[in-house]
C-alpha cells in the first residue's frame, strides 16, 4: 500500500453546550490508505459522526474547538484556511450522509445539483458538465441517467436518492469518501446494492473510504479495518477479522453480544438464548468517567486501575502476550497496511479467544 490518503492524529473536539463543555472526541488517531475501507463503529453519542464533521470543518466554529492533525494528501485539514478547505471538500473528500432527502436540495433537479458540484471545482462548460453528470449517474447504477438529470429528488426512491448523493460525492473523483450512516435509512436489499456499488467504485478508483456506522453486520461486509468508538475514544481497532472475530475490549464484546445472530440463533439447548445486552447507557460527553470510559457499564472490571486510570490503546495480539502492557498508541502507526496491530484500550483485555 502506498502513503495513506488520510492521516488523523490525536483529534480532539470539544463542544460548548448549555450544560458545559462536552468532550466529544478525545484523542483519535487513524490512517486511511488508498483503496482501504476503515469502519468507524459506535453508538449514538460515541463521537463517530462529529469526528469526521470536524475533519471537514463542518462544525460551527462558534461551538466547536478542534485540535490535532488531519493530513489529507499532505495538507493539514485542521489548519487550512476556509477557502482552501472548501476547494478540498469536493476533489479531496466527498461525503455521503444518512438521509439522502435532506442532503439534496428539493427544489433543484438532480442534474442541476450534479452540474453545480462539477463546475464548482473545475473549469468545465455546462454541456460537458451535464455529460459528465449523466455518466456519473450511469456509474452509480441509476436507470435512464439522461432522464434522471431532469428529475427532482422527491421523484426518486430512497435508494436511488442515495445513489445520486454518492454520484455527487464522487463527481470530483475524491481520494477519500466519507459515508456517515449512509445505508442506515435504507432497506437491507437496497443497502446490499449500495454496499456493492461503493465496493465496486472503490476498486475502480482506489478511493479510501471511511464508513461510519452502528451496524457491525455492515462492517463485517465492507471494512478492511475497524475502529470502535466509545465515549469519544477509540476503544479498539484492528483488522476486521481481529476486531469482530476476536474482540478484546469488553465493550466490543458487549456490542457483538447484543446482536441477534441470524446464522445461528438457537443455542445448544435448542432454545434461543438471551442476548447479552450491555446494561445502562453511554456516558454523556459532558460528564465522562475519570478512569476507563466503559467502566460504569463494564461487566468485567477486573483491574483496580479501571476506575481511576485511563487505559492506553495497547496492542493485544499474540506479540502483546509476551510483553504485557504492550505498545502504546503513538508507536503503532506504520504506513504499510500489512501486520496491522490489533489494539484495545482496556485494562481487561482477554486472552485471544475467538467468539463463538
Amino acid at each position: 500500500m502506498t502513503a495513506p490518503v488520510l492521516e488523523v492524529e490525536d483529534l480532539r473536539v470539544r463542544l460548548r453546550t448549555p450544560r458545559g463543555p462536552a468532550d466529544v472526541v478525545n484523542g483519535l488517531s487513524y490512517t486511511v490508505g488508498a483503496g482501504e475501507t476503515v469502519a468507524v463503529v459506535g453508538e449514538s453519542g460515541s463521537g463517530k459522526s462529529v469526528s469526521v464533521l470536524a475533519l471537514l470543518g463542518l462544525l460551527p466554529a462558534r461551538v466547536a474547538t478542534v485540535t490535532g492533525r488531519a493530513v489529507l494528501q499532505g495538507e493539514d485539514l485542521l489548519t487550512m484556511p476556509p477557502q482552501r478547505l472548501r476547494q478540498v471538500r469536493g476533489p479531496g473528500a466527498g461525503m455521503v450522509f444518512q438521509d439522502p432527502m435532506t442532503s439534496l436540495n428539493p427544489v433543484l433537479t438532480i442534474g442541476r445539483q450534479l452540474v453545480e458540484g462539477i463546475r464548482a471545482h473545475g473549469d468545465v462548460s455546462k454541456q460537458a458538465a451535464r455529460g459528465r453528470a449523466a455518466e456519473l449517474l450511469r456509474e452509480v447504477g441509476l436507470p435512464d441517467p439522461e432522464r434522471a438529470l431532469d428529475r427532482y429528488p422527491h421523484e426518486l426512491s430512497g435508494g436511488m436518492r442515495q445513489r445520486v448523493v454518492i454520484a455527487i460525492a464522487l463527481s470530483n473523483s475524491p481520494s477519500l469518501l466519507i459515508a456517515d450512516e449512509a445505508t442506515t435509512a435504507l432497506d437491507v436489499t437496497v443497502q446490499a446494492q449500495i454496499i456493492d456499488l461503493v465496493e465496486k467504485l472503490q476498486d475502480e478508483h482506489g478511493t479510501g473510504v471511511i464508513w461510519i456506522t452502528h451496524d457491525l453486520g455492515v462492517v463485517a461486509g465492507i471494512a478492511d479495518r475497524v475502529l470502535v468508538m466509545y465515549g469519544g475514544r477509540c476503544v479498539e481497532d484492528g483488522t476486521v477479522d481481529d476486531v469482530l472475530e476476536r474482540p478484546a475490549h469488553p465493550y466490543t464484546r458487549g456490542l457483538l453480544g447484543s446482536l441477534p445472530d441470524l446464522a445461528a440463533p438457537v443455542g445448544p439447548d435448542g432454545e434461543v438464548p438471551e442476548l447479552t445486552a450491555v446494561p445502562g447507557l453511554p456516558p454523556p460527553p459532558t460528564d465522562l468517567p475519570p478512569g476507563c470510559v466503559f467502566w460504569p457499564r463494564c461487566p468485567v472490571r477486573a483491574d483496580p486501575r479501571c476506575e481511576t486510570e485511563q487505559p492506553p490503546l495497547a496492542v493485544v495480539s499474540r506479540a502483546a502476550a509476551a510483553g504485557p502492557g504492550g505498545a502504546t498508541a503513538s508507536g503503532a502507526h506504520a504506513g504499510d497496511g500489512a501486520g496491522l496491530p490489533h489494539r484495545a484500550a482496556t485494562w481487561c483485555a482477554e486472552e485471544e479467544v475467538p467468539r463463538g
Binding site: 436507470p143 436489499t189 453486520g217 455492515v218 463485517a220 441477534p260 438457537v266 442476548l275 445486552a277
Partner: protein, 341 residues
Amino acid sequence: MGDVLVSARGLEVHFPVRGKGKAAGVLRAVDGVDLDVLRGETLGLVGESGCGKSTLGNALLRLVPPTGGSVTFDGTDVTSLDRRGLKEMRRRAGMVFQDPFASLDPRRTVAQTVSEPLEVHGLRSGKRERATRVAELLELVGLDPAVAGRYPHEFSGGQRQRVGIARALAGEPDFLVCDEAIASLDVSVQAQVLNLLRRLQRQLGLTLLFISHDLSAVRHISDRIAVMYLGRIVEIGPAAAVGSDPQMPYTQALLSAVPVPHPAKERARERIVLRGDVPSPSDVPSGCRFRTRCPYVFEPCDDVDPALQPAGAPGQLAACHLHGVEGTPVTRTPEGVTADP
C-alpha cells in the same frame, strides 16, 4: 398455544391518492392478507419499508380502518364493534410504537402516560391505587418507579421505549403489537428491549406481533415469521424454517442481504442482490407482485397471482409458482431484471 387469537381474512387497507394529472388512484398498503396469530405465540412480521407491515398491524387493532376483508379478535369481528366493544378490545390489545421520542406526550409525566389506560378503562379506582399500579408496571419493564413524576424528555430512547411498553401493558392485554419497537434504538439498547419483550411475553403469556424490518431481530424473538411484500404476505412459517430455508425468492434475497457480523462468514456468503426498487403500492404489478425483481420469473408469473401454498417445512407456506405450478424454475432476463447466479 394452538387456538387463534387474532385472525385476518382478505384484509385490505387502501388509501386514496391524489394523482398528479392522473385520475385519483389507490394505494394498496394492505392488499388481501390472510393471517392467523395463535394465542401465546410471537409472530414476527418482516418486510421492507412501504410493504404495508405497519398498516397491517394498525388495521388489526382498527387503528386504521380496513377497507375490505375482516379481522376477528378472540372470535369477535373487530370491524363491526361498537364504541364500547372497541374500547374493550383496545384494552385487550396494546401497541408499542417505533419512535419512543414521538410516542410519548411531551407534556405529560411518565406516570400520567402509563396510568392513562387505567383511567380510561377504570381499572384502578383512586389515585393511590393507580400510582401503586404504575409503580408495578414501571418495575415490570425495568424502570425505577421513583422516576414516575418525570417528563419523557428526561429519558433516553431505550427508557422511553420501556415507558411505552409499560403503557401498552397497563390494560393487562392479551395481545401486544410491537411496531418497529426497536428500530430507533442503539444496538446495545435494542438487545435490552428485545430481552425485555421476550421476558414479558413469557411471563405474562402475551401473544406478540413483532413487526420489524430487521430479520435478525425477528428471527431471534419469533416463533413464526411472516414475510410481507407489497401489501401481501408472501411467506409464513416456523421461524427456524423461514429463517434458514426460505422458499420464496424474495425471502431468500432478503435473508441473504442481512449483514452478519462475522467477516469470514460474510465473505463466504453468496449474496442475492435484487435489482431495482420495490414497485409503488399504488401501481402493483399484475400477476405475481415480485415478478419485476424476481430472478426466477417464468410463464405463469406475469398473469397469475400466486396464493400461499405449502412449501418446505411443515407449516411453511409460500406464495410462489415455483411451488405450485408445474414447470421447472427458469432463469430469465427480462428488462431490468437479471438473474444472479
